[in-house]
Symmetry: C2
Subunit: 231 residues, 2 copies
């Protein structure tokens, strides 16, 4: 045991970049919290906090998301670890960043503990962020864009039942380019991961779109056996 004591230890935090889509505004959004503690009190930041002994990194990330934003049961993946010497005014603090994908309508925001409030912000209209969180967020964005083109993680951003148009809009928003209607449909159907429902959209002033959910089984299968999934 004596060995480790030769070395100074850093503080260890986790931070989370929670992505969600706003279909009305057609923008990609992230959850930020207004800090209720020093340092950077009153400033917007990514939800996060210190990891506790006995807790895995992922558990810590899930806990912080729950505590500071009320969000739980989401797709979560480790992003990158940030450890530049002076990234935290409190001293030596290393942060393991995660990113999460959620369907906003299905998750009500609720700030507690170290956060005054939690809110969705469009990724291209962000306030000034605490720490190096602007950099963390950019890294997450790059990862999301990159991954979306070769892994089927996009589904995580949709509600349970969705139309093909919504799926396409998702891709258009995140990738920042219009996609060909016909070709998109062909591509998606060729993957054979959607289950057609006997339901259609309601409350629209035009032909209602058919709704789909996805076939968990086939989807998992794809994810496992190194799929090629390009849009």
């Amino acid at each position: 045991m004596s060995f480790t004591y030769e070395f100074e230890r850093p503080g260890l935090t986790v931070d989370g970049v929670i992505f969600g889509l706003d279909f009305e505004e057609e923008t990609l959004k992230v959850v930020l919290v207004e800090r209720d503690v020093e340092p950077f009190e009153g400033m917007w930041a990514l939800p996060g906090g210190f990891v506790r002994n006995g807790e895995s990194l992922e558990d810590a990330a899930l806990r912080e998301l729950r505590e500071e934003t009320g969000i739980k049961d989401v797709f979560l993946e480790q992003l990158y670890t940030f450890g530049k010497p002076n990234r935290d005014p409190r001293g030596w603090v290393v942060s393991v960043a995660y990113y999460a994908l959620v369907a906003p309508d299905q998750h009500h925001l609720l700030a507690t503990t170290d956060a005054r409030r939690a809110e969705w912000f469009p990724v291209n209209k962000l306030p000034k962020l605490a720490f190096d969180h602007a950099e963390v967020l950019q890294t997450a964005l790059q990862r999301l864009r990159g991954k979306l083109t070769y892994a089927p993680i996009g589904f995580e951003l949709l509600p349970d039942k969705f139309s093909i148009r919504q799926l396409q809009t998702l891709y258009e928003i995140v990738l920042g380019q219009k996609l060909d209607n016909r070709n998109f449909r062909k591509k998606i159907f060729s993957l054979d991961v959607l289950k057609e429902l006997n339901e259609i959209q309601t409350g629209v002033a035009h032909r209602a779109a058919r709704l789909y959910k996805f076939d968990e089984r086939k989807y998992k299968q794809l994810t496992r056996q190194g799929l090629t999934f390009e849009i």
Copy 2:
């Protein structure tokens, strides 16, 4: 400052998975070191050690690689951070793993500090490893295989001057499948990142292959502007 002291702090280490190719044996290899300190003294492990205050994570990784294996000036990229509660018998220790790509002939192995010796091992004939390093290594392997198919990082594993056959062998070894000769050449040349040299292979009992290096400029350009690079 008082805030951080409420929280217990973990030890923080970096570990490195150094990949290299053995063209004679046609295998992918990694550098392991025999530990000269407790815990796991005498056991094989990934090179690594504690991060120091004031040092960035990447600097720490580079330093450890240099100290324990003598390897420097290599392609290095963060892999993943491992933080399961009981991964280290010394207590709470979190490790940020990196992976590196080198051309073995151009780097002489030399163990110092906490390592008794450093040696190349084929990835499919590994000894029992200390800590959770077997898991770290598997993660690195997956990443290398994945990344190789969409980013031009393979070049980092080759000597300065190389033949197309070597490049192809590289892909065949790492991906674990034979590739069509003709098609591979077409693909590679279509990327337009190779600079043809006025040199050919020597010391072979058959037609000597032309040697190439790559065009740093075009290569960097590709890497930047989100290339699509599929084999």
